[in-house]
């Protein structure tokens, strides 16, 4: 059964259809790539899945249950976590604290627990700290725990954001251009991290412009252009699809067709 089903989902901003009747599904344990030119509606689709705003049409089903219109934090509780295209860490916290914040939906201490430091709260806090440390290590950031997040190098910040998202133990992880702005060796690290995350039983939905990375890690691809799905299939099929090539590079014979 599919983990996430996007069913004829649409989103209009004024008269503009940013996402228009898009349908696809993500299978359990899959790495699905979401690609398309700039402005194709990929990030908008992420925002719809994480309920940053509600769709104007269609259904979003996570494990068979409708999630459209839920509060963003409830979506996280259900098991969908995300990273952002432009990194959004908590800059004045340490790296470890960032990940500890990510643990929020998987812990429960309230105000009184925090103030009175009950035994349960102390145990939970120790557990949060331990799990967060493990995640930092997994992301190759073990030495950075006490450093201020905003001062970390760019590549570290990207990985820290993934660690924070992983702290909530998602079933489905949405990565928005994790390799953007990275050099080749950093991109290779991201590639093995994505595979490691899948190895932990987490399904990954990936937006990425780095085609070599997409072709290597993704099981299937969904291609968007101007808010519509134009193709879906295995990486090799997509590469050979004339419509996809056209969306990225323009048409060969009609030079005066001005849109790109």
């Amino acid at each position: 059964m599919s983990l996430l089903r996007v069913d004829k989902v649409g989103k209009n901003f004024g008269g503009l259809a940013a996402v228009d009747c898009v349908s696809f599904s993500v299978g359990e344990g899959e790495i699905l790539g979401l690609i398309g030119p700039n402005g194709a509606g990929k990030t908008t689709l992420f925002n719809l899945i994480t309920s940053t705003f509600a769709p104007t049409g269609g259904r979003l089903l996570f494990r068979g249950e409708s999630i459209a219109g839920l509060a963003p934090h409830s979506i996280v509780r259900k098991g969908i976590c995300r990273t952002f295209q432009n990194i959004r860490l908590f800059p004045r916290m340490t790296a470890l604290e960032n990940v500890m914040v990510g643990r929020h939906p998987r812990s429960g201490a309230g105000i009184w627990g925090g103030v009175l430091r009950t035994r349960r709260q102390r145990n939970e806090e120790a557990d949060i700290r331990e799990k967060s440390g493990e995640l930092l290590a997994l992301m190759g950031l073990s030495g950075c725990g006490d450093l201020t997040a905003g001062k970390l190098p760019y590549g570290h910040q990207r990985r820290l954001e993934i660690a924070r998202a992983m702290a909530a133990e998602p079933k489905l992880l949405l990565l928005d251009e994790p390799a953007a702005g990275m050099n080749e060796s950093e991109t290779r690290e991201i590639q093995s991290l994505i595979l490691a995350i899948r190895g932990m039983g987490v399904t990954v939905l990936l937006i990425e412009h780095d085609m070599s990375l997409v072709m290597k890690v993704c099981d299937r691809l969904v291609v968007l252009n101007f808010g519509r799905k134009i193709a879906e299939g295995a990486p090799a099929e997509i590469r050979a699809n004339p419509e996809v090539v056209e969306a990225y590079l323009g048409r060969e014979e009609e030079g005066e067709d001005g849109d790109a």
Binding site: G114, V115, Q121
Partner: protein, 299 residues
């Protein structure tokens, strides 16, 4: 005065979720009036009055906090300032309940009540070498000190816990906090009403230590004064506003001749701070330096 420390903590609490509220003078007056009316007109004991006054202010905090979610930054500041003025206008005009502009006098005073209670059990202040009025001031001071220390400790501990991390995350990036699974609505309303409750508590204690209150005690000058504590001391860490409150209350006491010009001095201090140290006197870097210098094992 230690009441100012409580007020400084109260503005810090709402600020720690990124909400700048100037309504704390209004919440303070709600706490003060509620407790004053309950103890004078209805004969309630002081602790019950203080408790109910704080809770009532906290409840108003929830009522104001929910619509306040829609406002950010200066818009929120102006709206909450307006709330404070509305509360004051109500207290001025609801003469049958509040005594109007004249205010409420003969509010039971904490120190005197304690002394009276102790006298009944045969204790006199002279046995510990104090005159009655000295004993009264001392007991008021001790109660306020305990309240200030306890509330500071409360929020200090809170800030290093799960809820405190949620506050800090919302302050730094609300959308990212929601994406990390934090219910921003809940925590923002919670912080707002905690601030309101603490202001109400401060107001109630204020009423029972001066034993006379009037709407003039809760003007917008008060609201700005509380803000200045946070701006001067720094709003990054709880110690900032607390330091600001203590320093700015102590200075006019020490330099009595400037006390008439207090607001001019505040203005000058604010301008200078904005030029030379926009983050306030106390920031995280300064505290880290103290922690390293003081105790090498400290976190």
């Amino acid at each position: 005065m230690l009441v100012n420390v409580l007020l400084a903590v109260s503005i810090y609490v709402t600020l720690s979720t990124g909400q700048l509220s100037l309504g704390n003078a209004g919440f303070m007056s709600i706490g003060a009036y509620a407790s004053a009316i309950l103890t004078t007109a209805h004969g309630m004991p002081i602790p019950a009055g203080v408790l109910l006054g704080s809770v009532l202010a906290g409840a108003f905090g929830v009522l104001v906090g929910i619509p306040a979610l829609r406002l950010k930054g200066v818009y929120l500041a102006i709206a909450t300032l307006g709330f404070g003025e509305v509360v004051r206008a109500v207290f001025i005009n609801w003469e049958s309940l509040t005594g109007g502009a004249v205010g409420i006098a003969e509010i039971p005073q904490m120190g005197r009540e304690i002394l009276a209670a102790l006298r009944e059990s045969g204790f006199t202040p002279e046995t510990v070498g104090l005159r009655s009025n000295q004993f009264i001031s001392l007991s008021v001071f001790l109660i306020l000190l305990a309240a200030a220390v306890l509330s500071t400790l409360f929020f200090l501990r809170l800030s290093s816990s799960r809820a405190g991390r949620a506050y800090a995350a919302i302050r730094m990036d609300e959308a990212a906090a929601e994406a990390a699974g934090i219910d921003a609505t809940y925590y923002k309303v919670l912080a707002f009403s905690q601030g309101a409750l603490l202001s109400g508590f401060a107001g109630a204690l204020f009423a029972h230590s001066t034993s006379y209150i009037s709407p003039a005690d809760f003007t917008y000058h008060r609201a700005v004064e509380i803000l200045v504590f946070a701006v001067f001391g720094g709003s990054e860490h709880l110690f900032g506003p607390v330091f600001g409150a203590m320093f700015l209350t102590a200075v006019p006491e020490a330099l009595r001749f400037v006390s008439d010009y207090r607001y001019i001095v505040y203005g000058i201090i604010l301008v200078l701070m904005m030029i030379f140290r926009p983050q306030g006197v106390i920031d995280q870097a300064l505290l880290d330096r103290f922690a390293r210098g003081g105790s090498p094992g400290g976190s």
